[in-house]
Amino acid sequence: MPRMTATVSRGPHRRFRGRLQHATLAVLGSLAVSAWLYAAAPNALPVSEVAPGVFVHTGKTLALDVPGHDDIANVGFVIGARCVAVIDSGGSVRVGSALRAAVREHTPLPVCYVINTHVHVDHVLGNAAFKDDKPQFIGHAQLTAALARSREFFLKNYAADLDSPPGAEQIIGPDRTVAPGSDLDLDLGQRQLTLRAWPRAHTDCDLTVLDRGTATLWTGDLLFVGRTPVVDGSLKGWLGVMEDLARLPAKHVVPGHGAVSSELAAALEPQRRYLVALLQGVRDELAQGKPLQEAVRDVQPQKSQWQLWDETHPRNVARAYQELEWE
């Protein structure tokens, strides 16, 4: 990317200025003020540049109810010649601010888009950190409704992940949406992103982002790597969507959770096998007239291959059962 040289050079300069400021304050002996300054400028989220101008922060493998749960999703940004697109904002305003600080370490260009790949808390709660940048918030056409349903739940269960005092206005939904089955092209300046909204799969509002120039595909949670996939939309729908996803021209794959890779088909395969095993296992239970609770106990494929299995898999069986019992 032509823009890279200019943007990367900003980082060291800013860090130098920071050191100078710190030295002056140290001379003044004002330790309290110094501490306040550090608190006011959040530590930047560590990111790596997976393709020129494409920066990814890899989330931790933690459950949703432990400390650090706000930093479990892969989030990041793409820098164009004109402006920056942020892709998912993390699970708290704190993580969102740290992501914003990471953007600032790499470019002075404005954040013009904040794109959310779906409604889940670990991907959207950081949106408020970008409010002052006045970006367009963009998501799937169903994201508005999905957030409306979730707002109260988020406020009740994740209040500590919002700025104090927590309020519904911090849970920012899209002001521009993409209809399911259609694409939206965004121009960041000499850089085109293609957003695609998918039919019901991981959730009912999944959206992918393809950076055309570098062929980097941000799958959102349509792809889990290592962490047990969460079925919150439709198991059959997801398997269908994965077939279409596999056809996208991707050289770099950024999953919603887990490691970035360069082989889309290989990255999709473990998840496909898990979802197929889940589908088969639950269908077998249904064919034998087994009730939901027995299916949850019996269907245990691939347990050793996935992280956070016990926190995730039983619910997947319950959801799959309810979907497939009406086949």
């Binding site: 409704a145 939309g233 034998q288 007239g289 069986v317 959801r319 309810q322 979907e323 009406w326």
Partner: protein, 270 residues
């Protein structure tokens, strides 16, 4: 979500009981760490007066539910009757103490009905006790309860299986025909879900009555409410093959529409 703030009518419950329940449940909401004393205390005198309720023997009766539910919107609850209670239960109530509509169902059973297991699928809104109270044909009461940890089951969005033909009934027998799962395709809207387009509550629309009969004779009748999951499901099991044909009739509120289907052993789904 906002379940606890919405006044709600359930025809199976006296309004007075319900208001008492809401009033009793409200102050405890602040403490979400420990399960609160919910609806049961105010409901007990209304439903059973001062009658003794036995709580002794798991051989007689048991209630089983997951300690942490995989899906708060569809938590399986299993009731089993054994020993002296087998075939001698005339009524069972299931109560979820901390749900906005605590009384899940009141089921009346025909005397001598050879059913020793009844499964339901319920919504659970928060950490709660789930209890079943059985009344025998000679007027004795037995109660069992269990704890379930959950959150948000009353206001969960519709599942992937939402929609379909309203009132469609499916039968899913086990291979030996000793158990039969009956599922009714119905949104069973609680009235607590929000229409995201308008911000208004989705109006209540739920299965209020289920009747099982054979040869014109009623085997089981259940008053049901909004604590049953979307696509309400009832499963019965016996120590011997169930007799067929078995007819199911379901009625909903507010339409009073009647849905019916008959299961014949040897056939699976309708």
């Amino acid at each position: 979500m906002s379940c606890d703030r919405n006044p709600w009518r359930n025809r199976a419950l006296d309004i007075g009981v319900l208001l008492l329940v809401v009033a009793a449940a409200s102050p405890v909401l602040a403490d979400s760490q420990s399960p609160a004393i919910g609806a049961w205390e105010p409901m007990r005198p209304q439903l059973y007066g001062t009658r003794d309720i036995g709580e002794v023997d798991d051989q007689l009766m048991s209630i089983e539910a997951p300690g942490t539910t995989p899906d708060p919107a569809a938590t399986p609850v299993v009731l089993r009757f054994g020993g002296a209670l087998a075939g001698r239960v005339k009524q069972v109530r299931v109560i979820i103490d901390n749900n906005p509509s605590p009384l899940v169902t009141t089921m009346d059973l025909k005397e001598g009905l050879p059913v020793d297991e009844i499964d339901l699928r319920v919504r659970i809104d928060r950490f709660t006790s789930v209890r079943a109270i059985a009344e025998t044909i000679d007027g004795k009461l037995e109660m069992r309860s269990t704890w379930v940890n959950a959150s948000g089951g009353c206001s969960a969005p519709p599942s992937a299986a939402a929609g379909g033909t309203l009132g469609q009934i499916r039968f899913r027998p086990s291979g030996d025909a000793r158990s039969l799962q009956i599922s009714i395709r119905h949104p069973n809207n609680s009235g607590f879900q929000i229409d995201p387009r308008t911000g208004d509550p989705i109006p209540p629309h739920f299965v209020s009555h289920i009747r099982l009969s054979a040869g014109g004779q009623t085997l089981m009748e259940a008053d049901t409410g909004i604590s049953l999951s979307e696509n309400p499901t009832l499963r019965i099991a016996s120590s011997k093959p169930l007799s067929s044909p078995l007819t199911v009739e379901a009625t909903d509120i507010p339409t009073q529409e009647r849905y019916t289907a008959t299961w014949i052993a040897g056939s699976s789904s309708r």
